[in-house]
Symmetry: C2
Subunit: 119 residues, 2 copies
């Protein structure tokens, strides 16, 4: 059982919108992702999803409002709620979500990453 | 659905070894705790537990070795593994664990906090 250093793990990959698995806890996975630009509107049918901003800033757009997250802030998006993550500048986030969660939720498209890498 | 600022939440309580609930995600709770001094040896029968150091440093003692965690580092303690958290100086940690998790795991003693506050 080893510790995980977030900065080190983030240094091991460069691709955006492609979450990397860094830990397994109960029925969930801890993932790290680098975000830049705009993702796609989606929701997760049965899974709540946590976004903790480790570096930079993240705009989480909902159908009825926007929430801007800065470093050291998190949001839990409840299952079923449509959201659109946008990172105007490169942002680094820690994600926590069930093992069953697909990054694009209810959609499958060119942004979908079905097989997650571990770093 | 609001965002949560970790520094702000930590400013709202001062007691040590008394995790505060700051979020609910799937079957788990996100908690914040201030640690100082030595806790008690314990394990959790059925729950993995994640410790992410937000401020300071945490020594996690296992029966066969020690792991020192600094700011920006986390460890997932698997179910069944005995551990003893020690904070030589005040440390702030984010915990993630199932709703069923008791802070003292298999023990019930004066360090047990059965009813967690929310902040």
């Amino acid at each position: 059982m080893d510790k995980t250093n977030l900065s080190h793990k983030f240094s091991l990959f460069q691709d955006f919108w492609s979450p990397k698995v860094v830990g397994e806890i109960n029925e969930s996975l801890v993932k790290l992702a680098k975000l830049k630009g705009e993702f796609v509107w989606h929701h997760h049918e049965n899974e709540d999803e946590m976004f903790l901003v480790v570096k930079g800033s993240l705009l989480m757009r909902f159908r009825d409002r926007d929430v801007r997250l800065e470093e050291g802030e998190f949001i839990i998006v409840p299952r079923g709620v449509e959201h659109l993550p946008i990172a105007e500048e490169e942002a680094h986030v820690l994600l926590l979500e069930p093992k069953t969660t697909l990054n694009t939720g209810n959609l499958t498209n060119e942004r979908t990453v079905a097989e997650l890498e571990q770093v």
